[in-house]
Assembly symmetry: D2
Homo-oligomer: 153 residues x 4
């Protein structure tokens, strides 16, 4: 990672973190016995889901509130390949943003605990008419206030 | 194929057929350079979609009519593997059934026109309350009448 | 399941069983919020892998012995759909066969422990020249003898 | 696209371009009827493969020459969603690089010919010992010379 994916200000609350474990599936590896690059979106997703559930801001929470949070950007840096049947971890790091964005950084560590992959996604929020939301819906507002207050970790 | 997947009666209208072409994607092959067995459901789907669109009984037609047609059975016989980048065809053969079922047979032929894979799926129809339909919705009834009359091919 | 997928003889050793847990991924569900039928091959695979590793007859064991075990048949019966984010279990049941075949039955149970999906796969073994093996390679022979002797469970 | 993904010098040969058509598969769309963000890696891949085959620098060419060209970076910007069954095109634009890198830009246009997705991938080349190559293998050298001479389009 040449430079940080997201730049934070001094007064921003600390990022929120969650880590999940997963294992390479047979069908995810290619002719060379390494994971095809396109599958990492699914790996990132696992940690994103865990993050959402840990803090009450998961897919189902959005869904119930008639809000969607589409991904607008995804970036992946492949440092070391993951191999057939390998066990690995995916860490999601949710960075604070004053704008209504979900800025997630991801770090995948291989079975030797070496960094295999890093990346990030940026999500925005759309209301039930698919309009970009600039003001957070109540359940997100509550979550952001708790985060800002230092209550979450 | 040891025996026919579907048995037809003498008075049944001829099966409907459609063929589509596809090519093996890099990410569909495994360590051995052959297509992972689980991807054939997607290959069958391509021909199923073509069949549905040719005869006005595709996903979108069902969707607009508040009917779903879930798959209740899938069977695949793997005769010869498909390989990296190989071009192949998928033929869907829609067999008549007096009961309200969608009985599709599939034949995949490899780049030498040899039979690589055969199989079938069985679908039923559910109404908007997810109840099994025994009487066809109007758009399906019209399709079945045309088929029965020998108008379709 | 209308009838047993595999028929056993009285003198056959008991089937071997293993169960794994998994959760529906967001990307595995379709427009209706249910798992697309083609993903169940991956679900079965998870239990197949667990079975292989528990008994020392997994992909890597075959690979190291220059033997492959391609899937020749797959059958799936869909009884109840799995839904967005649902947790479920996959049980693999390895049935004895006098012929050199890997006959696996699968039972998927949903979050209410109801049977959602059943099915089976049949695998054969090929040597390094892709010829069908009728005599088991040593590591499989050893495994089969232990199984036959009642040592495994 | 806020800024160009790749910056070219005046004396660089023009980028090489290829466009392929594809259609959204049923299983690629999610609960909202739009393509799940992770599938775009496969869409990009289709155009990458077409590019490789058009210019004799495809997967099989690398494979036969004991060279691999792993993806080191992937970036995707999602502008407009692709929808159920939608037809779209994927354009790959191969940008010259003095360093031995494969810098591909991608533009996906939806059925209204509007830009739906843009992105890029960066690939390097590894020899049969997985060492980074700084000097191109002969088949790549020949390709680069033709490109540099203005012979290719």
């Amino acid at each position: 990672m040449e430079k940080p994916y997201f730049i934070s200000n001094k007064e921003d609350p600390s990022p929120l973190r969650v880590e999940v474990a997963r294992r390479v599936r047979f069908e995810e590896t290619d002719l060379l016995g390494i994971v095809w690059h396109g599958h990492y979106a699914s790996y990132f997703e696992d940690a994103r889901v865990a993050l959402g559930e840990k803090y009450g801001i998961g897919y189902l929470d959005y869904y119930e509130n008639n809000v969607t949070a589409p991904i607008k950007k995804m970036h992946v840096d492949y440092h070391r390949p993951l191999r057939l049947m390998e066990r690995f971890t995916i860490e999601a790091i949710f960075h604070w943003s004053d704008a209504l964005r979900i800025n997630n950084e991801f770090i995948i560590r291989d079975s030797d605990n070496l960094i295999a992959t890093t990346g990030y996604t940026v999500q925005v929020m759309l209301d039930h008419k698919n309009n970009l939301m600039l003001v957070p819906p109540p359940f997100v507002k509550a979550f952001r206030e708790k985060w800002k207050s230092g209550e979450l970790k």
